[in-house]
Symmetry: none
Subunit: 292 residues, 2 copies
């Protein structure tokens, strides 16, 4: 058995061939691997509302001979995880892209969020949660993904959120709508896009509050901004990483949601109801939903 494979991967691979009862076992295993590491066949059967034999058949379906074999596999994995991270990393080849990405993006997330200025964060959340102000999200080509997430999630919490994109004509028209007091969140990395810088400056002169998410406190974007957040963007490949910027957006949106809780809940429920009534979503709900 290849030790590099995680039990989730094995389950995923065999998922198609599982019977309904076996699938319930699989869900229990994924949900709480400790149950198979420390538990017994009977406990796993009870947790998944099945029977002993079904658990055994599940183990067999994954390629193990009996429950003890599966258990040994999971225990080995856990033992691996217990060893210090440094020791574990040394084992993987230095050329391993996944390992390098892991350390790099952990760094990016940490530096991004640890570098957040409390006052700036509170102030930014404040204006973003102010329903009197329109919100515009400006993102460079590289950072469009981050901008999309920010705009999409904010839009679910409040109205008057616009993602500015498209042709320069359309951008200009949208910029023209900006009123004093509105909020513009601009996301871009080096090398900065000229149109975005100009748009940001025009927004400022129109009286907007400019919030910059950039890769440097010295970026041209930061110069014009009232609030600046610096994202760690070091990448392992030829491109910058956006993991740090995503984490920042995550925090901002959570802050806004907390501030708007009363209002946002109703809005979210309405959106969800619409989706549900339209049958657009597939729940495929596990029996135990631990979601908040």
């Amino acid at each position: 058995m290849d030790e590099s494979r995680t039990v989730s991967a094995l389950v995923a691979e065999a998922a198609v061939h599982l019977t309904p009862a076996e699938r319930r076992v699989a869900e229990a295993v994924i949900d709480d691997p400790k149950l198979v590491a420390f538990g017994t066949v009977a406990q796993l059967a009870a947790r998944s509302s099945t029977s002993g034999p079904t658990v055994l058949r599940f183990a067999g379906r994954l390629g193990f001979v009996g429950f003890v074999d599966l258990q040994a596999f999971v225990r080995e994995q856990i033992a691996d995880q217990l060893r210090p991270a440094t020791e574990r990393i040394r084992e993987r080849p230095a050329t391993d892209v996944v390992a390098r990405t892991l350390t790099t993006d952990l760094d990016n997330v940490r530096t991004t969020l640890e570098g957040v200025d409390e006052a700036a964060f509170a102030a930014t959340v404040g204006v973003l949660a102010d329903r009197q102000r329109s919100v515009y999200v400006l993102a460079g080509e590289d950072s469009r993904g981050v901008g999309v997430v920010l705009a999409t999630q904010l839009d679910l919490l409040r109205d008057r959120v616009t993602l500015i994109e498209g042709s320069s004509v359309r951008v200009s028209r949208q910029i023209a709508e900006i009123a004093p007091g509105d909020v513009v969140v601009a996301v871009d990395h080096r090398r900065y896009e000229r149109w975005l810088l100009e748009a940001a400056r025009r927004a400022v002169s129109a009286g907007a509050v400019l919030v910059a998410v950039s890769d440097s406190a010295l970026s041209p974007l930061a110069e014009a901004a009232a609030r600046v957040f610096v994202a760690g963007v070091r990448g392992v490949g030829p491109f910058d990483s956006h993991a740090g910027a995503f984490a920042l957006v995550h925090a901002l949106v959570a802050g806004v949601a907390a501030k708007l809780r009363r209002r946002a809940v109703g809005r979210l429920d309405a959106v969800e109801a619409a989706w549900r009534d339209g049958g657009d979503l597939v729940d495929h709900s596990p029996p135990k939903d631990e979601r908040r």
Copy 2:
């Protein structure tokens, strides 16, 4: 029993009152705690060159009633260590959104990348780097940001990359173009979007290689997929986090870039030259450029 105490501390405290044989058991326990977590009385006795009853007396000496009690204690400790930082920390007030996001997203990135199956990763990078195959990126509404990043960056490395989005008519038309051997990367979380699932299934029956990036190995998206990657998506606010999924995209893109280095460099240079000539970019290079 005070749960905060480690088993080593308990042993040290009781060490004075231990008989010689019991001391050998203590040494074995300290040397390899996994032996008591996963092993049996007989194994621990053999390892310490003692007998079953001595192991039992040792456990009693530490204040436990029987071996199972000692074992439960050690297992509890291990479970604590495995638990993600977000849960371990929950006793603390953690009113600070930024701090909560930090621990949560570090967890998300770590679980996502540590859960990556090496073989699946290599295979996925392989097909994504195969210039004979067209690549299509399918993303749910929630995950559109991640999809955008993946499509954008891949498009800079190779041609024939398409982000499938828009009205259902347009989606259908794009799906129709999929040929056997093409690659479809589908990104979605619970609750899964119906159109996306159907599109993915149609792609599979058209002969495409489906790569799923989802929040569970048992998601309906994963069922049809040839390769599955599970992203940690735990969010601090009402929405899922995309930091983990993005880190995975980061790794995938870096892997493809490494594989295509020769070809990609030329392509990147050409794109960059076009931007530069058009005057679209502002360098504003900081004094120290750490870029490779």
